[in-house]
């Protein structure tokens, strides 16, 4: 009897398999973009106005106390850009991922087709890159008239940094979500991880204002690396050494996180 499937069937490439989910993500985006306008675009802008412009109006200190920024607005703006990248992806890879593996179980439906767990992750990350690019692109464009971007090249560098910051947070937390049975843990991720990082990792004030122990801790967080790299680009104070450290840290996190999430999702979808 002839075999049911030909012995050699051309295997679609990883890109092709990820691209097949473009319709899915497009449909999701069409449904949710309206709601995301407030959290992705308005919230960061309001923070810039409240903290940078209005509160900043009460802050008159020398640039050396603001890591070289000539105004508090110029100091806080890159911090808010990087923090926004973090919050954007964390929002996308917590409850939505839980939904895909637990509530509506869409990921199970996806992998009943030629797609595998890695393809699901790839497409999802692709969607995040799109979200990061649009959100931080718009954010940086809005900041430009405030005069907080010192050079076009710096703006591009800051923009690319956001993709990296986003992926560095996305992959490990996606991995966490993929294997999680109970979503209550997310409350802890936000309350003990994301919010403290948002507030203490150098976005709002120089980490040097913290006590030495807390300062060291802050310098170990991924957000600090993201904030500092973004700030170097927007202030035009790029230094090769520290920049490479930031880059290496964020790349390692994104890469290791990726390996972990593929493994965790494969296991979750396999039982």
């Amino acid at each position: 009897m002839a075999p049911d499937l030909p012995a050699t069937s051309a295997r679609p490439s990883r890109w092709e398999l990820a691209w097949r989910q473009s319709d899915y993500w497009l449909t999701v985006y069409r449904r949710t973009w309206r709601g995301s306008v407030i959290t992705s675009f308005l919230t960061p802008l309001f923070y810039v106005l409240a903290m940078g412009v209005l509160l900043g109006g009460f802050i008159q200190v020398a640039p050396e106390r603001l890591e070289g920024a000539t105004s508090y607005l110029a100091f806080v703006a890159p911090g808010l850009v990087a923090a926004q990248s973090m919050q954007l992806v964390v929002g996308e890879v917590t409850y939505p991922v839980m939904g895909m593996v637990k509530w509506n179980r869409i990921a199970f439906g996806m992998t009943a087709t030629p797609l595998g767990p890695a393809d699901v992750v790839n497409a999802h990350l692709g969607f995040l890159v799109f979200r990061l690019a649009t959100v931080s692109g718009v954010f940086l464009a809005v900041l430009a008239p405030f005069g907080v971007l010192t050079s076009p090249a710096g703006a591009v560098g800051a923009f690319l940094t956001q993709i990296l910051v986003g992926l560095a947070f996305a992959t490990p937390i996606y991995g966490l979500s993929a294997g999680l049975r109970n979503e209550a843990a997310f409350a802890l991720v936000f309350r003990l991880g994301i919010i403290p990082m948002f507030l203490f990792s150098g976005a709002f004030f120089p980490v040097g204002n913290l006590s030495p122990a807390l300062e060291t801790l802050a310098r170990l967080t991924p957000l600090w690396h993201g904030v500092d790299l973004t700030r170097m680009f927007t202030l035009g104070t790029l230094e090769a050494g520290p920049a490479l450290v930031h880059l290496g840290y964020l790349l390692a996190m994104a890469g290791l996180g990726y390996l972990w999430v593929v493994r965790r999702l494969t296991r979750r979808l396999g039982d």
Partner: protein, 304 residues
């Protein structure tokens, strides 16, 4: 189409499937019958090439799922036990988006989606949200979705569980038509009537093992009598009365609410019961079903 030898699946210490041999041929409708927890769904998920085999060999469409998962899944239609529909998309978008996962061009997938909505009688609900569908409609949509890639092999895990009788008949009718079109069907069920209606051949599973195999008729002939007399007595009397009717049939089963006397002539049994001065509250003579086969093989009922 499917060939399994010594197939096992373990989750930690728990062995859901404990070594089964299965052979499914092209064009047939094959069933896994058994109660909840018999290992049917685990078996189905291994066949669907999404759950790794713990040990034993499994070939689907002549290929090893561990190596050729994507190629196998490209030819499968899967209708899981729990609906995995996207509840936030419209009915039609569920089909279109799913079809795209197979790499089917957009225009083609749109055409098929309309065809399939027609086929499962949901054409006028295309723009509705999935949330607004009834249980039966969701099930039909899941089946339509599983057909979007024109599969050679359709896997249905408990296709009609939780549906009302009318919805079940609509669904069975659709599955019949697919079978006539030459689609190989593999389904699990814990409803014996469903197995009898749809399956050419089936295996009875219990506690992770296959306890019998054959066509529904073969199984009934081999493991039960032609007819069954059901006797209902007062509450609590069944256990005691079983001994008094034991010799009237080949076998007697005591259920909480009735006695089952297995015999080729049920009317005869009833007559003899009355001759002995016993007066059941209710009597019924019926043909043997797979339920009886299961009771015989495992000592338990299918649906409890």
């Amino acid at each position: 189409m499917i060939s399994a030898v010594g197939l096992r699946k373990a989750f930690g210490d728990f062995e859901a499937v404990r070594g089964i041999d299965v052979e499914v041929r092209r064009g047939e409708a094959f069933g896994f019958l058994g109660p909840n927890g018999a290992g049917k769904s685990s078996t189905m998920r291994m066949i669907a090439a999404v759950s790794p085999v713990t040990s034993g060999s499994l070939r689907i469409l002549g290929r090893d799922p561990a190596e050729d998962g994507p190629a196998i899944r490209a030819r499968l239609g899967v209708c899981p036990q729990e609906d995995t529909l996207d509840t936030e998309l419209t009915v039609r978008d569920n089909l279109v988006v799913y079809g795209r996962y197979f790499g089917i061009p957009r225009s083609e997938v749109a055409r098929r989606a309309d065809e399939l909505l027609e086929f499962v009688q949901l054409a006028e609900r295309g723009k509705a949200k999935v949330e607004s569908l009834s249980g039966g409609m969701k099930r039909r949509l899941t089946i339509a979705r599983s057909l979007i890639n024109r599969p050679d092999l359709l896997l249905l895990d408990e296709p009609t569980t939780g549906l009302d009788p009318q919805a079940r008949h609509v669904l069975w009718d659709r599955l019949f038509r697919l079978k006539q079109q030459g689609v190989t069907l593999v389904l699990t069920t814990h409803y014996m009537d469903e197995a009898e209606q749809l399956c050419d051949r089936l295996v009875v599973m219990d506690k992770g093992l296959i306890v019998a195999e054959g066509s529904p008729l073969e199984l009934i002939r081999g493991h039960s009598t032609r007819e069954v007399a059901e006797l209902r007595f007062g509450v609590g009397e069944h256990e005691a009365l079983a001994a008094k009717v034991e010799d009237l049939g080949e076998r007697v089963e005591v259920l909480p609410d009735r006695l089952l006397v297995y015999s080729d002539d049920g009317e005869e049994v009833i007559a003899r019961v009355h001759e002995r001065g016993l007066s059941p509250v209710a009597v019924l003579v019926r043909r043997s079903t797979l339920e009886d086969v299961f009771l015989r093989l495992t000592g338990r009922t299918l649906v409890d």
